[in-house]
């Protein structure tokens, strides 16, 4: 029930009603972005952002830097293990 799917905002479809078009795994969906906009992040600035979609809402932005760091850490762990056998 708490499932969320990552998607990328490709267009703002209705600024007033805070709606955007999000590409979710190749499918375009209209999604409400009220949860992820504030003064620092106006709707227009959200294009290109990766978000987590739940019941028709973008619930949070996905932090690309943190994701890359986690993957890097695990990659290094795997490489060390491979070398040390």
């Amino acid at each position: 029930m708490c499932l969320g799917i990552p998607g990328q905002i490709i267009e703002i479809s209705d600024v007033n009603r805070k709606l955007a078009i999000v590409n979710v795994g190749g499918v375009k969906r209209q999604v409400n972005i009220a949860c992820i906009i504030d003064e620092q992040h106006p709707a227009e600035s959200c294009i290109g952002d990766w978000v987590l979609v739940h019941v028709g809402f973008a619930m949070n932005r996905i932090n690309q830097k943190e994701a890359a760091e986690t993957l890097q850490l695990l990659q290094e762990m795997a490489e060390i293990l491979r070398v040390s056998g």
Binding site: C2, G56, M59, N63, E66, T70
Partner: protein, 381 residues
């Protein structure tokens, strides 16, 4: 798919597994870890994580499936609202098959009630606009993950003056449920895998009491197999190093302070109920949301006469013990016989996130079950 496939990568997964094996060998004892969230239970079964981790690590499935904890009485109340001839009743697909005392919403719909499944609560506003002579009622369930979306829907209904719309609010809160679990002396746990998507809303700070007052480590986790393995590894490391902290594996989505915009909307529309009944767990104080008086015109509990049914669970049903992590599904006498996903007696068999349904669907007992069964057999012989 980005942010999905990388977290299902075998190379990284194998490395994590080897680290997990190493640490559990050093620890040299049984470790019990509870995953709180039903989404994690589902992933654990889908990817067979129980099968690959060492025998000494036992995963205990917690109460974090909002469908599983809906008491029969609330389902009966929902059905009673849906029977009003001018009502269009809407809800998420997950809620349709939850058994009430006599029927479920799917059966009520077959018997003539206008009950619709929606993907998003916002869909209800559209239905309400298209049917101005009808009252549209949304049966909202879910944890803090879902509550901001229903709060924004009420705010939008208020802004657009969609007055023929209301909600039957059944949101439940994770922290009071965890508190109730931790106060149960029967429960023996070494740590928690914390709910990822609840935490993206509330943040990781609210879990501090678990590490500070109850001395249990907790790692907030994502839902892909690598996420779950990494979280298990992080928990084992805490145990190994004698640390007891709130850690965040899912930092690509979860921030320590949560999502302020979402929480503000949630707190604007909802207030905490004095108590709320959870199926199998009974009344838990301050564990649910109701709609604030300022938004009473969108509150189905104000608009309609609701029976407020209180109905005891089926005698054979052990969902409470399952949700508390005290029993395993196969230890329930009716598991897989009288209780199946097609004809569920308890809610843990209804949702794909319920522990009983997960065990049933994936057609195998866990390693631990097999072990117990084979030991018992030996005893009989």
């Amino acid at each position: 798919m980005k942010y999905v496939d990388e977290f299902r990568d075998q190379y990284r997964g194998e490395a994590l597994l080897r680290e997990i094996e190493k640490i559990s060998h050093i620890l040299g004892k049984r470790i019990k870890i509870m995953e709180v969230c039903g989404g994690h239970t589902h992933s654990i079964f889908k990817y067979g994580i129980e099968e690959i981790i060492p025998n000494t690590i036992e995963l205990i499935h917690g109460p974090g499936c909002p469908v599983c904890v809906m008491p029969k009485g609330r389902i009966d109340d929902a059905i009673s609202i849906s029977q009003n001839s001018n009502v269009i009743f809407a809800t998420f697909g997950d809620a349709m098959r939850v058994p009430g005392s006599k029927t479920n919403l799917l059966q009520a719909s077959a018997q003539g009630a206008d009950i619709r499944m929606v993907y998003s609560p916002l869909d209800c506003l559209q239905i309400a606009k298209e049917n101005p002579k009808k009252e549209v009622v949304f049966f909202c369930i879910g944890f803090e993950t879902t509550a901001p979306s229903t709060a924004f829907t009420i705010l939008q209904a208020a802004a657009e003056k969609v007055l023929n719309f209301s909600m039957f609010c059944n949101h439940v809160l994770v922290i009071p449920a965890l508190q109730a679990l931790l106060n149960n002396p029967d429960l023996q746990l070494d740590g928690f895998i914390g709910p990822g998507h609840v935490s993206m809303v509330i943040g990781t700070d609210p879990y501090q009491f678990i590490s500070q007052e109850y001395q249990k480590p907790i790692v907030v986790s994502g839902f892909e197999p690598i996420d779950i393995l990494q979280s298990i590894w992080m928990l084992l490391r805490q145990l190994l190093e004698n640390r007891c902290e709130v850690e965040n594996q899912y930092n690509r989505v979860v921030e320590e302070a949560g999502n302020k915009v979402a929480m503000t909307a949630m707190n604007k529309v909802f207030q905490v109920r004095e108590d709320f009944e959870w199926r199998g767990l009974g009344d838990i104080p301050y564990s649910g949301f109701k709609i604030r008086p300022e938004y009473a015109q969108f509150d189905a509990e104000v608009k309609f006469t609701i029976p407020n049914s209180k109905i005891a669970d089926h005698k054979a049903c052990q969902c409470g013990e399952i949700l508390k992590g005290v029993l395993k599904p196969w230890e329930c006498k009716v598991f897989g016989t009288a209780c199946t996903p097609e004809a569920p007696i308890g809610t843990c068999m209804v949702s794909s996130e319920g522990a009983c349904a997960a065990y049933y669907k994936y057609g195998r007992f866990s390693k631990l079950a097999n072990q117990i069964l084979s030991e018992n057999q030996k005893a009989i012989v």
